[in-house]
């Protein structure tokens, strides 16, 4: 049997096509090594390869063994947890709708469920390494798409604004602009990972360029919306991606210098945003600084452990979906609130832990960054709902649980990408993703 025939027979048994190329290379190298050894002991060159193939054993048996070793792992629990959270959110909003005006529970939430699940399944079957194939083009294209969408929505708003009596539509479109900024920055994260991955091996200049590319365009879009949460979160997403990239040695830079370069501007920006919020609140003569948090804390202090508490505040009826948990605490009690908080954070924590098991660095970066997206959103949502941070004048959601088609689709896409990474967590070798850099020579 010839080398090519043997390898073909082995690979026919291996169902995961993603590993065919590296397996082929590994088996080829083995047969070549063996043939070389036979030639060294005097076997004629023309017979060496065939004899080397004979030492490999039965190709079918080998293929079956390799197929078993490379069976994709379906992260069924992640899919199931995401679907349960979406359903739980829809049910909660439906049950709270009669008590709180802001909760628009209804058929729309249920209709969004198949959209989210469909998006998750679609992206699960797509090859996530596509984000690393044309990273810069894809990143720029997505940023442009977000910018164009935003420009279109805001200008339609302006056109309607000049008409008569279109207040509801104007509000809706402003909300859409915020949604584009918020969900766009979420969906930009895998593209950020691809961009950072493509800059591997670059020095400090490449590192700075990557930082700027990841921070500046989403920040402009968030300011254009305007959406404070998109501005803050997209900055933290970029920071997380770059922190992992530096930790994994993507850039030829001194890690301490790189961290200082990232974290000092990030802390200054955080202080700036906080100061701006305090300044804006202080100019509000009726409400004052921290009025939103005071209202939320007031509602929680009036809550019971079980059942409806003292909900006299008008705050919730005028608040938006970002205070879903506060509404749960007010209506159903602190225990139900604690369970909801647990449900919101459990999946992001599980995703962060699972990402550590992904073997190739791009997959690990992507999976971890997606976990960070959901974790940050969950943390902001929870802190806003217990009166620690602000949620108004922004866009804050509970991952999976908040209503609307945008939320379901964006969360579905990211869960699908995460699952796509995880199913190949042991399979996708670095070389397939490599951008052509020569491997290190071994002596």
């Amino acid at each position: 049997m010839k080398k090519e025939e043997y390898i073909k027979a082995v690979l026919e048994q291996v169902r995961c096509s993603a590993v065919h190329e590296p397996l082929k290379k590994e088996l080829e190298a083995h047969i070549d090594d063996q043939a070389e050894a036979f030639i060294a002991v005097g076997l004629p060159e023309e017979n060496a390869e065939e004899e080397a193939v004979k030492t490999m054993g039965d190709p079918i048996e080998t293929g079956v063994g390799l197929d078993a070793a490379h069976r994709p792992r379906v992260p069924g629990t992640v899919f199931a947890a995401a679907a349960v959270l979406m359903l739980l959110g829809a049910v909660m909003r439906y049950m709270l709708a009669p008590y709180f005006e802001f909760v628009e529970g209804g058929i729309g939430d249920i209709a969004a469920l198949p959209l989210g699940i469909g998006a998750a399944v679609l992206f699960y079957f797509l090859d996530y390494t596509a984000f690393a194939r044309f990273p810069k083009t894809a990143y720029v294209a997505f940023v442009i798409l977000m910018g164009v969408g935003m420009f279109g929505v805001i200008n339609i708003t302006d056109i309607l604004n000049r008409g008569d009596g279109t207040v509801i539509q104007i509000t809706g479109l402003r909300e859409t602009a915020r949604q584009i900024a918020f969900y766009g920055s979420m969906l930009l994260v895998p593209f950020m990972c691809g961009f950072a991955f493509s800059m591997r091996g670059k020095g400090f200049g490449g590192f700075v360029l990557t930082c700027l590319a990841l921070v500046v365009p989403p920040a402009f879009i968030a300011l254009y919306a305007p959406c404070v949460s998109a501005l803050v979160l997209s900055g933290i997403y970029a920071l997380a991606v770059m922190t992992i990239a530096v930790k994994n040695g993507f850039f030829k830079v001194r890690k301490r210098a790189a961290h200082l370069f990232m974290y000092i501007p990030a802390l200054l920006a955080a202080a700036g945003v906080t100061a701006l919020k305090i300044w804006r609140d202080s100019r509000n003569e009726h409400m004052g600084v921290g009025w939103e948090q005071d209202y939320v804390r007031g509602i929680i202090s009036g809550a019971k452990l079980f059942g409806r508490g003292n909900v006299e505040s008008e705050f919730l009826t005028n608040a938006n979906d970002a205070h879903l948990l506060t509404a749960v605490i007010a209506q159903c009690g602190l225990a139900a609130g604690a369970l909801t908080a647990l449900a919101v954070t459990a999946l992001p924590i599980a995703m962060l832990i699972m990402s550590g098991r992904v073997q190739n660095s791009f997959g690990r970066l992507t999976a971890f960054s997606i976990g960070i997206v959901f974790m940050l959103q969950a943390v902001w949502f929870l802190s806003a709902n217990i009166g620690v941070t602000t949620a108004l004048e922004s866009y804050v959601t509970a991952p999976f649980m908040s209503g609307g088609g945008f939320n379901a689709i964006a969360c579905g896409i990211l869960v699908g990408i995460f699952a796509s990474v995880y199913r190949r967590k042991d399979l996708m070798p670095e070389r397939k993703l490599d951008t052509g850099r020569p491997a290190k020579k071994v002596t």
Binding site: H30, D33, T62, G65, A68, Q359, A439
Partner: protein, 112 residues
């Protein structure tokens, strides 16, 4: 001397991990080293080695990287992980207990 294959079953993984604990190796090198060190007692087929190696990698006991050798051939090098080292220590203990017990029985003697 030909060895009954069933005697080797279950211990091949331990032998591979032992080799990798000493140094990073590629597939052919493992088979060659194992054969030489065991005076040709353990003549492992590539068809047995690679599925086993890939399973060990999936379990997190070994990690791999590709690198070019001096003759320009691309090779996949395997190295033992901390988890793999722990697993090897466990397997080694198991083996010592097992082989000790087998030897005791084979040596014969009366029960007390």
């Amino acid at each position: 001397m030909k060895i009954d294959k069933s005697l080797m079953a279950g211990s091949t993984g331990m032998l591979i991990l032992q080799l990798l604990e000493e140094k990073e190796m590629y597939g052919y090198e493992m088979i060659d080293t194992l054969e030489k060190r065991s005076d040709s007692t353990f003549s492992l087929k590539a068809g047995t080695l690679y599925p086993l190696l890939h399973s060990l990698e999936k379990a997190g006991y070994v990690s791999s990287r590709e690198a070019e050798s001096e003759n320009g051939r691309m090779r996949k090098y395997y190295a033992i992980t901390d988890e793999g080292a722990g697993f090897l220590a466990e397997k080694r203990n198991e083996w010592n207990v097992f082989s000790g017990a087998v030897n005791k029985v084979l040596e014969g003697g009366s029960c007390v």
